[in-house]
Amino acid sequence: MTTNDRPGDGGRPEPAPTEKVRPPRPKRARSSAVARSVAAAASIAAPEPVAPPAPAPHVLIIGGGGTGGALAHDLALRGLRVTLVERGEVTSGSTGKHHGLLHSGARYATTDRAAAIDCITENKILRRICPGSFEENDGLFVALTDEDVEFEKQFVEACWLCAVPTKRLGREAALRMEPGLNPNLRFAYQVPDATMDAMRVPLRFMATARRNGADIRPFTEVVAVTMTGRTVSGVRVRDHAAGRDYEIGADIVVNAAGPWAARVASLAGVNVPVVASPGVLVAVRGRHVNMVVNRLHAPGDGDIVLPQRLRTVVGTSSWIADDPDELAVRAADVELIVRESAALVPAVARAEVTATWSAARPLVQAPVPAARKRVATRREAATAPAAPAPAGAGRGLARDLRCFDHATDATPTEGFVTIAGGKATTLRAMAEAAADVVCSKLGLALPCRTTDVVLLPHSAWYSA
């Protein structure tokens, strides 16, 4: 049985007959249902990795978020030996804390065309390889004011240029589709946004990676990068669960630490122009919308409202933080977000706030390379050398994924690569860009296969 035969973890596709999930057993067998289930989970077939060159090079990934998890999956499929270390539980950094929005790209179409194209491309791929992980509820961009109405032409043209499909809905049609909207809206555009589970989509990448041989170690913090001259040879880690330190050797170390990327790189004496740009998010009780509701204007604060199970999540704001570990939940931001989102969905203002938190985006503080401005291929743009970092703040920064081979730095460091930037929606593309750089550094011509391999369900992560 291949993974294609198995229903996903939220599977709408044709479910397999139950006998496949839990094979019948002879009467009065002694094994418990639990023991049988463990055995059944272990028998889920994972896609076969390609034959590795012998001995396969060893890649060590720092960071167990979406990017690190997707990279472990990509490299394991290419047949490399992979170890991933994460200082806490997997997805405990920025990955688990975002809205849970699978972007269509419409939000970025007017400000960052390359990011928008990445989003719509990855949106389609993820729906294919993570069946059942998305609520296929679509999104609405809602015009409320005269300024929003003026923004319409720019928005539609930008979406068209980025191949993000849009459909115009009049006021009545939009309210029929999403009754929770502000009844004074002018019109809305329907786009292929979707909601997802911020933790469980990355877990599917990690579960599949591990089934293919990747070694993923949570609660394992990198305390030093071991080097021979200017060549990285591995890392020294602290295993917080066992309370001991040890070293791991590697042919290449990839820094996928998200907003902590600059701190990790500094362990190797490398500068990476990545800053932590936190935003506040607010969860309120009740499911006040069924679709992803955006404001039809240039990306701003508090302009996304979406359902997560029986709660509604609204956000977000944006600033630059010095330390990704010390993120304040700014009271003024909470008020602003609730006020702005209540303009879109009035019920939010009356709902009980159940949680407020901050999540740090990893933003690359480097100008977009010229190639990127022409909307080059993803790989060409992502691996273009970085220019010196200018000062910048929050939303003005390019949100794109970038991969730095530190062998091309002014002071070259061999065996060390940083992947940074991007969004939750583009985790697979970030992994592809980084894996391409890793393979090219190792002199291997191994193709990326992650666009077509259907991932194991998230529960496979927890199988023994």
Partner: protein, 274 residues
């Protein structure tokens, strides 16, 4: 609504389990929303290889509105980076940060410190009836083995709510499923404490969900599972599962529904044999 203060948190002193050191009073206290002074924590510690857990005391200053998870992460950041605690979403959606707080199962991110008694230290322990990883973290393998046994893939396929029909050209409104797979119910269950083969509340609730909303699935295997000795009939109606569930799943009620279906199915099969 209780947004936390934007002011950077003041430094605080950690104390070991032996000596209690008074934390230094910060000079610049915020006039509007003063931090709750000196909150005491009594935290279960256990590294891999330790024969049994021990408790360690911490005294920290917390922000108004802070949750138990905020406090645990603050302890990890500033006082003891070796504290192992699971967490991800911070808003009771992912189900990773389940612990026992003052002996009661709860999500750390969903428990505000202001709701806890102040006269004694806040005791935090890992979930019970699961394999320990270290400190406050447990391995969810056994929990998911039980959920899979209750035909999790079938459950997932039946997630779409009947009451919310998506408009034309939208594929699905889904994820009305309440269970966030946190394992609190399994930890609180007195039967699971003594019987490790008991399938447990979450799995039975999942099975009940499949039986109540069968869509087009064959219910035979799910009902057979529920009829097994360590399944639906093993529960002794302690209702602890429903009491601790952070997501209104109500496994106890689901179990009663499931028993009704199992009994009816058993009777049907008995009559068919005659």
């Amino acid at each position: 609504m209780s947004p936390r203060d934007a002011r950077p948190e003041e430094p605080a002193a950690a104390v070991g389990s032996v000596e209690v050191v008074q934390s230094v009073e910060p000079e610049t206290a915020a006039p509007a929303a003063p931090a709750r002074p000196g909150t005491h924590f009594h935290i279960s510690r256990r590294k891999q290889g330790d024969p049994k857990p021990h408790f360690q005391n911490f005294e920290i200053e917390v922000e108004p509105g802070a949750t138990v998870l905020d406090a645990l992460l603050q302890i990890r950041r500033r006082h003891d980076p070796s504290l192992v605690v699971r967490h991800s979403c911070m808003h009771a959606a992912c189900g990773t940060c389940g612990v026992r707080i003052n002996g009661r199962e709860a999500l750390a991110c969903d428990t505000k410190l202001a709701t806890l008694p102040t006269h004694k230290p806040i005791k935090v322990e890992p979930l019970a009836n699961q394999r320990p990883v270290a400190d406050l973290a447990t391995d969810m393998v056994d929990f998911y083995a039980r959920l899979d046994a209750a035909a999790m893939p079938l459950l997932r396929a039946s997630e779409t709510a009947g009451g919310a029909t998506p408009p034309e050209n939208i594929k699905a409104f889904a994820r009305f499923e309440n269970c966030i797979e946190c394992g609190l119910c399994l930890s609180a269950c007195p039967i699971a404490r003594t019987n490790h083969d008991y399938i447990g509340p979450a799995a039975l609730a999942a099975a009940a969900r499949v039986v109540e909303e069968p869509r087009r699935h064959d219910l035979g295997p799910v009902l057979a599972l529920a009829a097994e000795p360590d399944s639906a009939w093993r529960c002794r109606d302690a209702i602890e599962c429903t009491a601790v569930c952070p997501s209104s799943v109500d496994p106890a009620r689901a179990l009663l529904t499931l028993r009704r279906h199992v009994a009816a199915n058993g009777a049907r099969r008995f009559l068919a044999r005659r």
